[in-house]
Every structure is written in structure tokens, then in C-alpha cells.
Symmetry: D2
Subunit: 339 residues, 4 copies
């Protein structure tokens, strides 16, 4: 059960409310986000919600039977809209395009990508400065200095920055320079990181785990939300299966399911989802038709020379073409009714 509290609830009213819920045998967690104060009640017994609902100080109350609570559509039917400022949003009924290289490499590289984005009216740029790598001997990214460099150039161009945060200690140092913190597929269940991102007032995009379930992705989002941060975006990026003809198995089934279960926006990453440059466009457009609210893909001036993931990275001509096709596909999708 979730109870949203009135802003002017008194301490006495709140105590009475908590006592009432405890009496049913439910455990209370208090959640305070930038947008509201909630009591999340966890328990299994049936009870009459009207008994609680008539208490004072309640803005809204719902029974949520899912394991995740605050991110559930049963709590909040209205889709969450992520406002990044300057009229840039990630939200239901819109098609966010986020493009950029796997790794941030140099000033020259950043400038070229930004020019490409501006030419194609793309307003969000992805890129890694902290790179999770299977091998300790591989390139691990330019780090915070790379991010600062990128920030200066992106600011000028009014481009938003989406980049991965790998550990708690990076959150604060990255804060001034990032618009969306990305939680990578290897960190989807790094619960301490999620806890700490709950304390931040910037958007967080959580990628589905390497072999994470849809349920686990929602639970991970619940960590951030219950930590205090409602600005959440979910990302389907392919799962690990026995099939080795592609890097991962892009699970587009997850898109309508996530959209039905949660009020959070859902983004598709076709680059990691298939891992083969020539087929990224088809998977991006499939992602649009699956109901996604945005597409995030990798692009680089010369993919063959990229520091990482070159095999799945589009060159600028392919990227420009794809962006146009995404928009046309989304325009068609908007005309479609669902029965």
C-alpha cells in the first residue's frame, strides 16, 4: 500500500496514520522525494483500505500488490515526464533520441559528434567517461576530466549529457556536469549505488541487467525512487541468452510490459541490443514500434577507429538517416489506435 501524505500533514496525524497501518501488520517505510512524501506499507494481509483512507492528512492512497510499489502504474497511472530543461523532455507520447560514442575520446571527437547532433536536431548526447570493462587491462575511459571537457562543449551547444556512473564516490564529482546519470547493465543491482542516486535531484537512467528480469529492473528503480528520486528512466538493452549470432538478445517484449507495469519512460538501446552495426537501424525502428519513449544509440565519426564498441557504432551518415526514420516511424505510430 502507498499513502501520499498531504504537504500540511501534522506530526500527530502522521503518527496516527502510521499506528493505524502498523496495526494491520504492515511495515512502514517513509519516503521523501523532491515531489512528495509517502508512506510505503509492506505486508500481505487483506485489509479494508477505507479504514485507513478516511484518516486525516492523506493526499492519495492505493493498494499496490506488485513487489515494486512507487514505480508501479497501480500507484500512479499518469506517466512520469522527465524534464531536462530548455524544453527537452523524456516522456510518454514523445520520442527522445540520444546518440553519441561509446567512449568520450578527445575534444576533437566531442566537437564532431556535437556538430552532427546539432545538424540533426538531436538534443541528448551519450558517451562514457567511466567505462566498465571485463578486463582490468582495457581502456577505462577519460574519467572526470573527460566529463568536464565534454560539459563545456555541450553547454555551448545546449546538448544534454547522458553518461554512466559506476560507483558512489563518482556521484558527487560528476554532479555539476551531468544531466542523466546512467546505471550500466553490470550495476543494475548495485544497491548501494542505487540508494545514493536516490539522494540526487538529477535524472537516472537504469539499464536492464545483463540477465536481469523485468521485475528486477523495476525493483532497482524502486530503490532509487524510495531513496528520494522520482526522475527515473528505464532502458532495455538486450539480455544474455544462448544465441551467439548477436551480442545480446534485444528483448522488445520488455517494452510494452514495462509500459504497462510502470509509469516510468522506457528507452531502447539497439546498439548493445544486437551489437552489429548493419542491423542497428532495424532494431531501433522495431524499438519505436514496440512502444518505446526513446532510442539511445552509438555513433562516431569513424566507427572503425572508436576506442570501444566500434562494431556496433553508426557513422554520421547512417545516424542522420536513422534519426529521420525514427521520427517518421514515431509519427506513424502516433496515428495508431490500440484496441
Amino acid at each position: 500500500m502507498i499513502i501520499q501524505l498531504k504537504q500540511d500533514i501534522t506530526d500527530a496525524q502522521k503518527e496516527a496514520l502510521i499506528a493505524e497501518v502498523n496495526q494491520i501488520g504492515y511495515k512502514i517505510t517513509e519516503v521523501k522525494t523532491q515531489l512528495g512524501d509517502y508512506l510505503v506499507g509492506i505486508g500481505k494481509k487483506d485489509f479494508d483500505i477505507r479504514r485507513i483512507g478516511k484518516k486525516e492528512g492523506i493526499e492519495d492512497i492505493h493498494i499496490v500488490s506488485d513487489e515494486y510499489k512507487l514505480v508501479s502504474k497501480k500507484w500512479k497511472a499518469k506517466p512520469t515526464s522527465i524534464d531536462l530543461g530548455n524544453g527537452i523532455f523524456i516522456k510518454d507520447g514523445d520520442m527522445a533520441i540520444i546518440a553519441g560514442p561509446c567512449s568520450i575520446e578527445s575534444e576533437d571527437q566531442i566537437r564532431k559528434v556535437i556538430t552532427h547532433l546539432k545538424e540533426n536536431n538531436i538534443k541528448m548526447m551519450r558517451g562514457g567517461v567511466f567505462k566498465p570493462r571485463s578486463s582490468p587491462y582495457a581502456f577505462r575511459g577519460l574519467g572526470i576530466d573527460g566529463l568536464k571537457l565534454w560539459y563545456d562543449l555541450a553547454q555551448e551547444a545546449n546538448i544534454k549529457i547522458v553518461t554512466e556512473v559506476m560507483q558512489v564516490s563518482q556521484i558527487e564529482e560528476m554532479y555539476p556536469y551531468v544531466d542523466i546519470y546512467q546505471v550500466g547493465a553490470r550495476n543494475t543491482q548495485n544497491f548501494n549505488l542505487l540508494d545514493e542516486l536516490g539522494k540526487v535531484d538529477k535524472a537516472v537512467m537504469i539499464k536492464r541487467g545483463i540477465s536481469g528480469t523485468i521485475e528486477e529492473l523495476l525493483q532497482s528503480a524502486e530503490y532509487v525512487f524510495s531513496g528520494g528520486n522520482e526522475k527515473l528512466i528505464l532502458c532495455e538493452r538486450g539480455i544474455r541468452t544462448y544465441e551467439k549470432a548477436s551480442r545480446n538478445t534485444l528483448d522488445l517484449n520488455a517494452v510494452p510490459i514495462l509500459k504497462a507495469k510502470s509509469h516510468l519512460p522506457v528507452i531502447v538501446d539497439p546498439s548493445h541490443g544486437i551489437g552489429i552495426r548493419a542491423y542497428v537501424p532495424q532494431m531501433a525502428l522495431s524499438g519505436v514500434m514496440s512502444g518505446a519513449d526513446g532510442i539511445i544509440y552509438e555513433t562516431h565519426e569513424i566507427p572503425e577507429k572508436a576506442y570501444s564498441d566500434g562494431q556496433q557504432t553508426l557513422d554520421f551518415a547512417q545516424s542522420a538517416l536513422l534519426t529521420d526514420q525514427i521520427r517518421k516511424t514515431f509519427a506513424l505510430r502516433k496515428t495508431f489506435a490500440l484496441l
Copy 2:
């Protein structure tokens, strides 16, 4: 290596050719289909193809390094077109729609489906009369009598019949009544069945195995082709993974990969691919954008009353809407260039 023989090749020329290939250390399989005679050479050594190519009696010759040979695009770049008669095709550059119930149930049910198909200009009907069921106690279909009944009604309406064949002994009895033999996901590696379907001059649609690889699907098609039947269609219908929020994991990555590796048409089955009625349309449209040459889905007048698979079956209103959306999405896709 594949050598297509000239129609007027002499026995002496053929023997000389085989001797030459054997000398390189390659094993020869002779393949005779309705469309041509081939020698398939299997081996691993490098050799100078010109040495063989200059022999007499050769129509065409190619080295094919894939494990599958005759179904490979390296052998035949031109897409295979399946001609079902009366101007009905399944082919690259077209969008086949195949709809119908999971199980054929009764004359009344068939009539209603056919009426629905005619109203929506759908020319191919799916339906099971032999049903593979995990439990021996479940409904196993109406059998050959159901197929005859269906045939009579479909003939009248000029509707083509797509239905599953489960075992060798059914091939002959089904022959007069079927337009496309479907090989189900549990029989993708039933090699005897594939062998025998190679001897038939009707189209065969092979579904990907429950947890079959893309490579195995192509090898299974190679069985039918090398058995003598080139009229082959591949079908992606979802694979088994750890994710249980959907019935299967629809692997749309497979579509562009199959299209790139093989000259055969590729169909997507969103009904089995996700297994949840409300999300079948999104997956169907995603399938169109992934590059599929057709969509096969389940529809029934009253899905809740269907003998099987009701939970993933569209009602007629949903089906009509989806058909329209598939066509519009395909029309848009045709305007898209690929870089």
C-alpha cells in the same frame, strides 16, 4: 562449394566433375530439386575454384563457407519467392499476412474466421489440426477430418492454408489440402520429417526451435532444400530464456541476421513471441520494422473461448486494426533506405 549443373549435362561430364571435386578431398552430395540439380561439396581445404569452374556442364559455381550451403545468400543472392498461386506470394519486398486460430475447432469457427479474413483482404489462414501438446491428456486437434472441412471452405474463398505437420505419415494425407506445411518449434530438428518434406512440391515454413539457434534454423532449412524442396520460409517465434514475464522472448535480432545470411523469406510470429494478447500488435509492428517479409498471428471470434492459446489470440476487431497498421508500417518501411 555448390555447383549447379546444366540441364543438358552428360553423364560423362558429371562423372568427370565429381572426380575432380573428390580429388580436392571434398565429399559430394547430389541434390535434385524441382528447380535444379546441384552438387554440394563438403570439405575444408582451400582450392582454386577456377580449376573446377572451367569444367563442362556447370551452370553456376560458388564457394560457400557457411555450415549451411544451398540456403545461404553466398550461394544465391536473389531472394527466394514463394508462389502459392492465384497471385498470392510470400517474398522479399512484400508483406504477407497470415492469420487464424490456434486450433481448428468447427465449421462455424472456420466460416467466421474466413469471413473476417475476406473482409480484411487477408489471403492466408493459419490453424492447427494436429496439435503438439506437452501433456498427453490435452486436446490434440481435429486431425485430418478437420483439415478436409477447412479445405472445402477455404477453397471457396480462395484462402490459402498454413498448418502444422507433426510426423512423416501425415505428409501424404495432408498433401491435397494444404498450401504451406508448417514445421513447429518442437520439430525444427526432427530430421526425418525435414528429409521427407524435401520430397514434396509444396511450401514448407520452418519455425525456429524452442531454444534453437539461428544457425540451426538454417541447417534445418538445408535439410529440406537438400532433400529436393526449395520452397522454404523461415519463422521467428520467440526463444526460451530465463525471463518469465512473457511466454517466450521474441528475438527480432534474428530477422535482419536471417535476411542477411539466407535468400529465404522470413516471417515473424508475435503471438507466440510474446504470448500476451494486449502486446501482440506492438510486437507485430516491431516485426515489420525489423525487416520481416510477413507476420503470422492468432485470431479468433471469441479468444476467451478458444480451445488453445486464447490468452495470446486477438479478437476480430483487434485483428482488423492490426492488419491495417501492419500495412501502413510496411508502406513506410518501403520508403526507407538502408546505409
Copy 3:
């Protein structure tokens, strides 16, 4: 629900019984095996079993809530013992050893294997004469002639024959020469084959599907049992997963689970389960400790020269050592209590 009928039940008594069960809303399947006559009732409603139990003509009656019925331990707590004649059994509380080559290749090969088996007191020999192969161009086995040759040599030596049947038409031709029909991993859900094997009075060993569930394996056994054949053996042989460091992932968890759910004996195949010769012994011994009733593994005089699966085949010295270790491990296991 399962009702075992008395041998002297009258037609009138049986009809009355069926009528009673139908009245509860349960669907009846009559099953007649070599050992007994049963009525299997399928339905979901609760009912008072005493109401049926007091009817005449009943030998035994149980409610079985599992999807599979006759193979369930809820029906029959006493383990099934497979009697192959000449004092050779596969049964709970014993350790069957089945060894032999992947493919039957020649008289000389068979003789050498048999000599090796005799020297090590192994009484059952595996070997393929019909080989399911992914590629139509691979060696498909010596066929029925190979089986006859093998049979003559095995007879002399009092060695039992375990070999794969791939299709319905082979059942009859193989019948005189086979002691255990093996259903391969690609045919676990070839329901027609299972149906027909139900009509045979020889033992059937069913391998778990390539990515089959434990539940599906039991359902497949139910097919054969309900077809009339109670002589069933289950075999864990590894499943398909994302891990590619081994050929398959041997799922030894399946052994105690199958033993708890079913009264049928369970065999482990470490050769396919890991697919790497050097580690087959460890997996065989692990299989013994997991509670298996037998081990089936591949051995060949010169594994490097085997027609198939050489990489996972033991030579005779390794095989002799392993057999001794299996027996010692089993002897130790028998001294262990379970709490």
C-alpha cells in the same frame, strides 16, 4: 486423479466408475499398460475422493495434482525397476553403467568395445546407428544393418543394447535387436514417437530436451506411459545455456528433483553434459553423488578417430578407471543416510 482398476472389474462396474468421475467434471483417459489398467482423470475441481473410492472394481486410487500423473511419485511411491533380463537391471538402489561409442562404426570397433566392457563387467552398451545431425551432409550412422551386426556380437557376449530411435517407422525394424530404445534430446517432444513407443514392450530411455524443463521431461514420459509402456528411464544430459566453455550445462540439480517427483530411474550422461573428455570423469562421479541410478558415457578405442563426438569420448584406460571409481563412489553413497 488416477484409478488403477482391478483385473476382474466388470464392464458395468467400469462404466459406473467412469460415469461417477465424469459427474465431478473430470475428463477420463483410459490407459492400458503391460502391467495394469488405469483411468486417468483430468480436471481441476475439488472433490471427495472417498465418494469414488468406495465404488467397486478399484485396485488403488490417488489424487495427483502434478501435470504428469502416472509417472508421478504421488501415484506410485515404489521406485520402478527396469528388468532387462539375465539379471541386468536399471533401478533405484543400484548403479547401472552404460558405455560405448557415439556411433557404431564397424565390426572391428564393436568387438573391441565389447571386449573392453566384458573386462570391466559392464553389461550395457550404448551406440548410435541412426544419428541425428544438425547438418544434412554429416555422417548419419550405419542404420539398421549396423544394428543387426551389433546385435549378433552383443548377444554372444550377453551385452544389452541401448540405441537411439529417431522416428516411428524405425521402432518396428529395430525391435528385435534393441534392449532400450533411446529418445534423443531433439526428440523429447516428438509426441508421435512417444505415443508409438507406448505400444512397445521394451524399455525406453528419454533424454531431457536440448533446453527442456524437468516438467517437460516428466510429461514426455507420461506420453509413453499413458500409451501403454511403463518401462521408462529418464536421462539428464545437460541443457543449453549462455555458457560456452562447456558443450552443455550438466544440470545435476535435476537428479534429486526428478527422483523426488517421479518413481522412474534417473541416469546421468556426463559425456554430453560437459562435452570435454578430461572432465567427463569428474562429472560422472558428481552424477553418482547427486543420486543417479546409472551413468551413461562414451568410450572408444581411439577417441581421436571416432566418427563423431571424439572430443568427449574416453579411451579404454580412462573408461576402466572411471568404472572402478563410479562403483567405489556408489558404494560409499549407499552408506550415507539422508536427513
Copy 4:
């Protein structure tokens, strides 16, 4: 390539060595552990190792073609022995037993477990004080205070402590109280945590990822080793597959493969590996026969009342019996030769 440096190597010799390696086109990472100084060279070109080997200052040099280097058996054939003091080891040729509850709950619970361990001569105790939980609302462990309490009681009894570390900031606060830091399955690829554990001089046990490959587990160990800590233990604890009859699929194939690829000791966790109490013993004993150097399992006075994982936790009677069986099985295994 790995070069172990002589302890008395001069700066000039080292610079000359690095220059030589760079000239081949290899990138050098310097690794300094508690036990030695190494240069790890990463590159793909062939080269003549004698050219480098004859330089001065080299203790040992090997080409290691694996992706992981320092943990590879190609580098160090001699098995790594983990010395925990007081004659307690985890090492090849020995059978470590680690038992204890899923969560540390109370002083009383700890005392009871320790008494049980002492009675059975078990010298290492597992238990969680920081618990990774899918849901933010679940019990997350007693934290550092629980660890201190545990430490006091364990010290007295000369019991070693194995417990999970979830994040970088916990490493230091846990340091005085822990004998083996456990990296959980959700953190196997938490590279920052691995980096920091490289700086510690206490043993680290790395669990295989939820769906981690064997290769990835070794790469994760390489992170810690190359960070400076050679005291590493690998743990197989089951992987995620489509099979839902067990909690995870215990992949015992991994044990002989890991033992062959690496010099590090390998432990098996049957509790998480199957997740069902009644079958934990069989899987533990299978683990012993697979070649493991130790078994880690969950035990609690009253499993039904455990705060977490009760369904897979043994009671003390089962634990005592299992310990005895593990030792007998291991004693038998030691008598076995491998061919």
C-alpha cells in the same frame, strides 16, 4: 605475457625491460602484490620470448594467451594456497568447509551456530551482515555492529569469518573483523569494488555472477590480483537459466574447468546452487566429486525462522551429517587417480 621481476631489479634494468616490451607493440601494466612485482604485457603480435627473457632482472617469464593473465595456470602451475592463520587453509588437495546462516541475526543465533561448528570441527563461518536484496523494503542485515558482535564471539572460538562486502566504503570498516571478504553474485562485475579489494591484504572470495561466464569470473579475479591481492578464491554458486524447478542451475562443469584454467582454489555453494533444503546435501557431495577445494553452505538452528533463505538452509542435524559425508567423500576422492 607476464614477467615476474627480481626483487633486486634496478630501475635502469626495469626501464630497459619495459622499453623492450613496448617495442614489440605490447602495452605494459605494472602490478605490485604482497608477494611479487610483475609486468603484464597486453598485445596480440607474435614475438620471440627469448629476446625478452635474456634481459636482466627477470625472475620468471611466460606467454599467457588467455584474456586473464595472472590468475591463469599458464602463468603459475602451482596451486594458490590461502593461509588464514592458525593452521586453517583453503587450498588444492584439501576440503574447506564453510557453514553458517544466510544472515547474522543476533548474539544468541551466532553462539548457537558457533557451538554447532565447534562440535563438528568446522573452522570457517559464513553469514551476511550487509545483505543485497532485490527489494528496498526487505531486511538488509545488521551491518557493521552485527559484524563486530560476531567477531568477538568467533575470535574466542578460533572460527574464521567469511562475509559479503557490498561497496568500497565498507572495505575499511570491515577490515579488522573479517577473514575472507566475499564478493556476491550481483557484484562480480563491480569493477571498482574489485579494484579496491586489490589493495587489501586479506583473502577475497569471488562468487560467479548471476549469469556470469567462467571467463568473466576469471577476469574479475584478475582485477583483484592486478590490483595487488593474490589471496583469491573462486566460488560456483549456480547460474540463471530458463529452468525454474530450482532456484539456480548449479554448474558443476565450472569446477574442473576453473581448476584447469586457473591456479586459484574453487569452492562450491550448493545452497544457492539448488535453493531447496532437501537436495543441498546431494549437490554438496556432487561438488566434492567435481573437484572442488571446499563447500560453503547455509545452516541455522531453526531454518524456518531464519530471516532469509530459510528454504535452502540446513538444520544442525542435517549439517552435522553432511559435514561427515563431505569428509568421507573427499577422502575417497583423494584415492582416485585421473587419467
